[in-house]
Symmetry: C2
Subunit: 312 residues, 2 copies
């Protein structure tokens, strides 16, 4: 019995659970999501490609499906928003595509359930190419609005959740998007700017500084280095600090707050996820690193720049 895209869609449709905000989910030409009052909708989309963002040799498709949603939830978190619904477009390899689609959906749906996000639509295709999955997440801002990258001001503390580096050893597939942390922070203090770390701590802090038109001074000793960064360092002899600054795919939040708010967060933690004060915003541009020996160096914002080849 040949299996068809329609069978996969019908399966998804059957398994999709009701969501109070989704009037119409999988099965029509578009999904309908209700906004109960004048509202700001948040939308983000990410595309994951086999061989670039994951390999099916090293990651079970459930983990790939989970990651495909998690990266977009992380973007909603970076705006301090609430995710509502997700939409999944996939190009499945023709051979074994049905089973792959089912497994992807299982991993994605488990995370969606955890964050009360409806799987409300998508587009299922097959081809002779590798697996490609695009996930769109629709969310909403809280009453306090969206937190942008652009509001950091001199004097603000630069803070971050969690620890950095070595994500490719596993965390990049299994990280928990910081949605709850972002909402808790947004409710408790005034977040002047925020970004999620996907390109790397140095690169993403650089983006935040560029958008804010400001600089930063960061203490080497304050940078939270993940255990995985040490493991990665043992493999390639680059210092753990270099991994923490440039590996990417950490999916932690980097944010700025006033010193008073920062001190409050340190005194009374809002959640179990650790937060660190990395340094402070200064006028000017770019980031400087205060090293342990007391010197200061410019911190190059080397992240995950994927160079295009020059055309012939």
């Amino acid at each position: 019995v040949p299996r068809h895209e329609f069978d996969l869609i019908e399966r998804l449709r059957q398994s999709a659970s009701a969501h109070p905000r989704v009037t119409l989910g999988i099965g029509d030409d578009a999904a309908v999501v209700r906004f109960l009052a004048p509202a700001e909708a948040l939308v983000t989309v990410d595309l994951l490609m086999e061989g670039v963002d994951f390999t099916l040799d090293s990651a079970a498709p459930e983990r790939v499906g989970r990651k495909a949603l998690a990266v977009s939830l992380s973007d909603i978190a970076a705006m301090a928003g609430r995710p509502l619904a997700c939409f999944v477009a996939v190009a499945l390899p023709r051979r074994g595509g049905f089973e792959l689609g089912v497994a992807l959906e299982a991993g994605l749906s488990k995370l969606a359930l955890e964050f009360d996000v409806a799987l409300a639509g998508g587009d299922t295709n097959t081809w002779d190419g590798p697996l490609v999955a695009s996930v769109t997440v629709l969310g909403e801002t809280t009453g306090r609005g969206a937190v942008r990258r652009s509001g950091a001001r001199p004097g603000d503390w630069v803070m971050a959740t969690g620890a950095f580096g070595g994500s490719l050893l596993g965390k990049h597939l299994d990280f928990t998007p910081r949605v709850r942390e972002a909402l808790a922070l947004h409710a408790a203090v005034t977040l002047t700017s925020m970004i999620d770390a996907s390109d790397g701590l140095a690169a993403d802090l650089g983006h935040l500084l560029d958008e804010s038109g400001a600089g930063a001074e960061i203490d080497e000793a304050a940078i939270p280095i993940a255990a995985a960064a040490h493991a990665a360092a043992a493999r390639d002899n680059r210092p753990p600090l270099a991994h923490a600054l440039s590996d990417g795919e950490d999916f932690e939040l980097i944010f700025t707050v006033s010193p008073a708010d920062g001190a409050r967060l340190h005194e009374r933690p809002l959640f179990d996820t650790p937060i660190s004060r990395l340094g402070e915003i200064v006028s000017g541009s770019g980031c400087r690193l205060r090293t342990r020996d007391g010197s200061e160096v410019a911190l190059p914002s080397e992240g995950w720049k994927h160079a295009f080849d020059e055309p012939p």
Copy 2:
């Protein structure tokens, strides 16, 4: 000078024009789109793959970019909604990817401008694979709500815009999504059900009937056959009618209305796009075709089913 994904994103950001409903567009972690009152958001996503939905040999990338948006606008039209913003995720071939991305965006943006849709975000990636483009469109319902596939009732007229068949000869790249027609119809009459024809007239009418729990009787003589269906027939010796019923990618609207509303639409056309009465909804299920010689045959809903290979 190597060119980077960031350069392409920066270019898109510079060229994106302001849109009254987009508070925050390209350049942050998510876009912010305002809903001015309690509202129903419409969301649809489509994924187009090189070698499946288009080939870059036969279609300039501007046309591919245009099509990538047009198919999603057609989905919003099928709900009788207003499109607001689009989000484009691409996997660009590493070689020549920058130029390809610029050309795609040019084609897409031209159509977006035509429909007052903001290009508000996306995800730009490169890899060694073929071109993949995913377009998400966020829209809103009018005050009359969304038109679903499921509301057709016995006695309703089955109607359609435009003509069918032979789309692969060119229309599939250059069609005009029926957004304006759908909004005009929705304002003037009660649309009991609607779908856009992407899988083929027979298949998509079949979807509408399945969702409505009803059947239909269609007149062979009433089916609007496109000139391109005749051209396709001349090439492969299949009858033009077969092309009209099963070719797919017509992106016309198939909809149902009461006989009174149908008659009104015939008497006073709302727009230049022709509309046809194909037949009527009956109780039961499936579609029957009344042929020119007065006989009746079951109309198989053969569309664009892409069979998966069985796993080994």
